[in-house]
Amino acid sequence: MEIKQSSSPTSFIDSTVVPGDVVLDLSSMTNQTIKLGGGLRQDCDAISAMKAGTLRFSKPNKYWIESSQKRYVPCVEDTVLGIVVDSKADNFLIDIKGPALAFLPVLAFEGGTRRNIPKFEVGTLLYLRVVKANFGMNPELSCTDASGKAAEFGPLKDGYMFETSTGLSRKLLSSPTCPVLEALGKKLSFEIAVGLNGRVWVNAASPDTIVVAANAIMNSESLSTAQQIIMVEHLLKNIQ
């Protein structure tokens, strides 16, 4: 009995779940604290899935569901690329491809005070971190890391931004480097910023490098590792 219960959560990890699946039973793991990510919700003792995708688990206690979609659902601690839509007295309004515009408090910068509020033109691209993502509220963003340092957050200058699915942007960030990026990086030098909301920014010295890199990344979504490498080689051959 006990074996069965403890094995049930592991059986769901890395497998496809659909909305309504009960993926965890809290009654069997009373002495643990767990953290829930996107796509999961708690009903008393049952943790159930709210969207279709793959259930992921990261040690020691994080659970979330991964899926690939065009629309981004904000989630705390995600890094995203946002576009400034409007600026108000207290907040910048930022488009992060979510269901609602996100707020970026004017003081959420390193050493931010009332005196040194930055000025952003409408249409500026920013690299940001999601701080709050609650139901019924606009998500809140920040331009600093958890310790209040600027890190790499802030406005991105020049370069080219394009949109992908959330699944592809997650792949680009995965820990053994994504084969497209690896193959491209061998031949070309470019800068890249990936937001989990499916936005990718690329910058390089010459425009044709940017175009090649951007198109290679966009085309790589449905290709296997070997195919991705072949595709990149083919593209690079064309350019030279």
Binding site: L93, A100, G123, L125, F162, P207
Partner: protein
Amino acid sequence: MDVRLANTWRLTLNEKNFIKSALLTEIRIDGRKPFEFRNIIISLGREDGSAEVQLGQTRIMSIVTAKFVQPYRDRPNEGTLSIYTEFSPMADPSFEAGRPGESAVELGRIVDRGLRESRAVDTESLCIVAGKLAWAIRIDIHILDNGGNLIDAANMAALAALMTFRRPECSLGGEDGQEVIVHPLEMRDPVPLIIHHLPIAITFGFFDESLMVIDPTHNEEAVMAGRMIATVNANGDICAIQKAGGEGVSQRVIMQCLQLATTKAADITKQIKSVVEAYNKESALQKINREPTCVGTNVKEGQDQTLDNKGITELVGKYMERLKLISGESYLSQNINDDFETKSLGRGTDSHGIKFNSTPLSWDPYSKGVDPEFLKASVASQGLSSANEEKEWRGEEKPSEAERPGTYEDVNPKSSAVDAPRIEMQMIGPKKLKDAVKPKNKRKKKASSVI
């Protein structure tokens, strides 16, 4: 307001600047050269008159339908052609459901103008009864995905759909000849529209500093300062030009655009035609495959089928009869008009002639139209009892001498007697061009009668 702000698509400053700066070095964000089209994929639907065009990210579906309407007063013998556009919010969040927006109206108008003003579709052939009944062709254009350059794609989709569209054949029938018979598709092959040429819309986008691109994408459309749409066909005829506000364009640039457009239009025309041809071939093959099976089932199940089937076979039988009659009739009238002598010869020797004669008059409304000439012929044959004529005739055609009077009574025993006065009227009345070039023997006849 907040939701709407969140749903609108917007371009970053980075993208705007990059598109412009890359264009200076003749590079576009999708790796194209400035005067290069995106890949065009045209797929035709399973049913006639539907097409889907993919131009890069852009996807457009178009469907052609037809119905009967009364033609417009000022053009009583022309059918109509109308275009309806549907910009679904699914294609682009900036499209609003319901009332067509500015771009939807513009797109419809441009496609419409290209087709109508250049008279690409023969609307006169769509008329059935002048002033009363004509086909109204309706083209529905649905935007499925907006990736830029909707106009070119919509135009292509409309053309592909028009080229595969088939309307059921119609003919006039009934007792008074005013009844319109719409032949079901199974009975007669539906007829395609008559399309004289394909007007292809080509969009040019202008950026400041006299940069120009062809087939702009969604992003480029958001950045560019102005655009021009030239509708041309493969022969190099300019069917329409649309240049809305924005960047001014010099005459030299316009001429360059038109030249480019002509070459592109030739390519696209070729592509559309090859796709349509493949489709036609396939549907013809399918028809061949279908027919034998159809007959087979009829034969097999003929006995245990219900009334319905019987009804159908009866219908088919009638229909076939009618077809025969029509062909017979037309054959007859043609003969009379063109070649009086040979016909009478044939008649005399052939028993077929009689079979033809007896039926058409009693049945077909068209025979009324044929009547005068028909009667003229009969009058001529009876010669209004002119001995002189008889002699002439006899001299010319020896073999059928004996039978001739009999056969002509066969042709129209009733009408020749009843319509005698009318015949005379016809003879006296103004001569038509046809009369002027009547066969030699007739001319001789007249001359002799005058003498």
